[in-house]
């Protein structure tokens, strides 16, 4: 965080300075195109994504203030506006790149870009930043590993403009994994000047300062209150953003956020409740983009005996009131995943499951199973996600009672939820909402259906899935084996049903006085393309 004195701040914009003391000037001024005000409900807790304990809302700083080597293109979204296009990898800091014939060596040529202190971006900076991303551990290291990047010796700066990555095995996930927020490029000279023996990666300095070549820098950050971005007029990796300054205000109460965006004192309200999205959509632009590769589903834990019976799992799947849940929990925002798949291609994911609410079929399956008289089971939901979990749980409870399965709802404190559901995997019957950043079905299966993997909260294991995922994860999507493998995964998963998909949730964003919002897989606000309406 730069220490901004009042005087300095006033100098930031001469035009702004004259309007500063007058409150009445605010709305008119904000709409004039200099300042964008965005409100959201979450706290940004660090400016450094690589640091231990950095939370999800903080990822937006890495996106807006730093460059990555590559990015994705965009395409029109069914939820309104634009969304990222996983199939189109586009240059960001790298001007161009080549992949060796064996797919092992990726060579990037950097464009002429400068950091915000004026020094040029070199391949050595990229190397240092990538070393940092794989060395600090925690989530960044896990995400880097998904692309095949695990050790610093895989990265090399050949000369000032050429950066090379050597992979242990070719993978289709390698280049897309360079477009996620993690491998951002840091000014290594400035960072090293602020590193200490105890802190060789300068985590304390980067925690408070943004030293990148990105479109913005953080001019001011008061945790729990606000974060102010200031535009970098020399940004080389994309068109200069329309707004000079962007104020991200933290407003915990959803009702207050709604009042502020409706009055036009804020131009963007990020991640609003589905109910507000539904009600506000006739007054202003509301984008509800189904989140790529993300599914809200019911988990049936194989450790719980009745769920080892295939007929019990099918009985549950036919007893779920899908449409009622979609309306009550998501207010119709997102994409339904029940019934027969007709629109999407055979390998599209998330896809409709083929299951519908049919209590007679459910009863028939239960009668065939080892538990014809039903059983009792606790259904666990998280106190932190009651907005969608509670209505879903109640509706499922009601319908399962009709076929003889007694469900008690067990609310688990937010801090304990991850431990119980994902780490210890001890919840018999629960809800889960994993979404994969990299948008291929095999990547989803890798995390959610492979034995022992984090989001496999059902303790599911199927030897064929294990082999299929291992064989498919790294082969290109145009490989002849890819489509048949993926189809087979779907077949097994939808027949065995360790997870019953309900719907694909949406990210709701309201805009009042701003436009050109883009949805990104990381589910954070990318302020770079936003323009005044």
């Amino acid at each position: 965080m730069t220490d901004v004195s009042r005087r300095h701040f006033l100098q930031l914009g001469a035009a702004t300075a004259s309007a500063l003391p007058f409150l009445r000037a605010l709305p008119a001024h904000a709409q004039s195109g200099d300042v964008l005000v965005a409100v959201n409900g979450q706290t940004i807790n660090s400016l450094d994504l690589h640091r231990t304990g950095t939370n999800r809302p903080s990822y937006q700083v890495a996106i807006n203030c730093y460059d990555r080597l590559v990015s994705f293109g965009t395409k029109p979204s069914m939820g309104g506006g634009l969304e990222f296009d996983y199939s189109k990898v586009e240059p960001e800091l790298a001007e161009s790149w080549t992949v060796s014939d064996d797919g092992l060596i990726l060579t990037f040529t950097l464009r002429d870009a400068t950091f915000q202190d004026g020094s040029p971006v070199t391949a050595a900076d990229v190397k240092w930043s990538f070393d940092r991303a794989v060395s600090l551990g925690g989530f960044p290291a896990v995400q880097m590993k998904a692309g095949g990047f695990t050790r610093p010796d895989q990265f090399a700066a050949l000369d000032d403009k050429t950066f090379q990555i050597t992979l242990d095995a070719p993978s289709k996930l390698a280049i897309p994994d360079l477009a996620v927020p993690i491998p951002f490029v840091i000014n290594s000279k400035l960072a090293m000047a602020n590193a200490t023996d105890d802190d060789p990666w300068a985590t304390e300095y980067l925690h408070l300062n943004t030293i990148g070549s990105g479109a913005f820098k953080v001019a001011r950050w008061v945790p729990g209150e606000q974060l102010i971005y200031e535009r970098n007029n020399d940004w080389a990796s994309g068109p200069v953003p329309a707004y000079k300054r962007v104020v991200i205000r933290e407003v915990p109460s959803a009702a207050t956020r709604r009042a502020v965006i409706e009055r036009g004192d804020a131009q963007i309200s990020f991640n609003i409740p589905s109910k507000d999205a539904l009600e506000m959509s006739d007054k202003m632009e509301v984008n509800s983009t189904p989140i790529a590769n993300c599914i809200n589903c019911v988990g049936l834990n194989t450790k719980f005996e009745p769920f080892q019976d295939s007929d019990v799992r099918k009985a549950v799947a036919y007893a779920i009131p899908y449409e009622a849940i979609f309306q009550a929990a998501a207010f119709g925002r997102g994409a339904p995943l029940w019934g027969e798949e007709t629109e999407r291609s055979e390998i599209a994911w998330p896809r409709r499951t083929g299951y519908v609410e049919d209590l007679d079929l459910a009863r028939a399956h239960l009668a065939k199973s080892g538990y014809p008289d039903g059983f009792e089971v606790p259904f666990s939901i998280s106190l932190n996600q009651l907005d969608w979990m509670e209505p879903t749980a109640l509706l499922i409870q009601e319908n399962l009672a009709k076929i003889g399965i007694t469900v008690t709802i067990d609310k688990i404190p937010g801090a304990d939820w991850r431990t119980a559901s994902l780490v210890e995997k001890r919840l018999a019957f629960h809800l889960e909402g994993f979404g994969g950043w990299l948008d291929t079905p095999d990547y989803y299966f890798f995390w959610a259906y492979k034995d022992g993997h984090l989001f496999n909260s059902s303790n599911y294991r199927n030897d064929e899935i294990e082999t299929l995922v291992d064989n498919t994860l790294h082969i290109p999507v145009d490989d002849p084996a890819y489509a048949p493998n993926v189809k087979r995964m779907f077949e097994i998963a939808l027949d065995e049903l360790p997870r019953i998909p309900l719907w694909q949730p949406a990210l709701n964003v309201a805009l009042n006085g701003a436009s050109d919002y883009e949805f990104w897989f990381h589910r954070q606000l990318d302020v770079r393309p936003i323009k005044p309406a």
């Binding site: 409150l23 009042a259 404190p413």
Partner: protein, 339 residues
């Protein structure tokens, strides 16, 4: 003489503070949830969770963690909050004044209404004034603060547009005054920056009214009860018989005697309000200490929870001392050493 007694009083607080340190340490460890899992991030695996656990020092046995915690405390290091990424001490230094400023203004407002209201009701019990007092008090206490808050925002900001946007302590056009006390009103006045003073004052109006409505009831009720008692006592009858002017009797003798229980109530209301204004803070995006504590609890953020409880304990030790001193000021019969 009094300074020595204050010193003795402070010494008595030491065991209290030690007790608070031990209890909060044990209680936070008993919270559900594993901070290492929580803070390792969304896709962290077993190995990276373990790594985070080691970095947080949570792999050490509890007594060892406790010794490290106390050692850090003695050096003035209250630890780092994981959920805000800042040192707990600097978080508290910023958030405690925010809560205190709001609570004090709200209480001033509340007293300015409640005490005259209580006096009015007590001097004419059973009259329409008394009923008015009862209605106001019942209404105030029965409206939940978040409801009053949202209602005020809806009417005065959303519909009438006479209140500023409910976005915390200052609209973003103002620069926060250089921190001296952390109270924006005082700091901006010290800096002679009346624009910011005005801005901060405007932001305070709605949340302060919300809290004042809620805290009105106990103060007004206590004033009324204490006044009724005082007015029926012998010395008032004597004063009346002696033909002293009415104002002198009510305000000079009765109110002064009735103030003791009111001040006690005020102390209780203050402590209660400081902790209970979480909902007001959330609705008005007020960066106060209540919402800080709740967020820290939800995230099992040990250092922040411990810091909060410790700060509150210290605050109440001070508050009790001030109230005891006030007793002696209000009622000279009460010697400090007698309390």
């Amino acid at each position: 003489m009094r300074a020595r007694l204050v010193g003795a009083r402070l010494l008595q607080a030491i065991p209290v503070v030690i007790g608070v340190v031990v209890i909060t340490f044990v209680l936070t460890r008993a919270l559900p949830g594993d901070p290492a899992v929580y803070f390792a991030g969304d896709a962290a695996d077993e190995a990276s969770i373990q790594q985070v656990r080691e970095q947080l020092g949570l792999d050490a046995p509890l007594p060892q963690q406790f010794i490290r915690y106390v050692g850090d405390l003695l050096r003035g290091d209250w630890g780092n909050s994981l959920s805000t990424g800042q040192p707990v001490l600097s978080d508290l230094a910023r958030r405690l004044p925010a809560s205190l400023e709001l609570t004090l203004i709200a209480l001033l407002l509340s007293c300015a209404i409640a005490i005259p209201l209580g006096v009015m009701a007590a001097t004419r019990p059973g009259s329409w004034r008394d009923h008015l007092c009862r209605v106001l008090v019942t209404a105030g206490v029965s409206l939940p603060t978040f409801f009053t808050g949202i209602l005020l925002i809806y009417v005065f900001y959303y519909l009438l547009d006479i209140a500023p946007s409910p976005l915390g302590r200052l609209d973003f056009l103002y620069i926060e005054p250089a921190p001296v006390t952390g109270f924006y009103l005082i700091d901006s006045a010290l800096a002679g920056d009346w624009d910011t003073f005005g801005g901060a004052a405007r932001q305070l109006v709605l949340p302060a009214i919300t809290m004042a409505i809620f805290t009105l009831a106990p103060i007004a009720r206590m004033t009324r009860a204490a006044m009724l008692q005082a007015l029926s006592s012998d010395f008032i009858r004597t004063a009346r018989a002696a033909g002293l002017p009415r104002g002198r009797i009510v305000y000079g003798y009765a109110l002064r005697n009735a103030l003791l229980p009111v001040v006690t109530t005020l102390g209780m209301v203050f402590s209660f309000a400081l902790g209970a204004n979480v909902l007001v803070e959330k609705v008005f995006a007020w960066p106060g200490i209540g919402s800080y504590a709740v967020d820290a609890l939800v995230a099992s953020d040990y250092a922040a929870v411990q810091g909060f409880v410790l700060a509150m304990a210290l605050l109440f030790v001070t508050l009790n001392l001030i109230i005891d001193l006030l007793y002696a000021v209000i009622d000279p019969r009460i010697g400090f050493d007698a309390t």
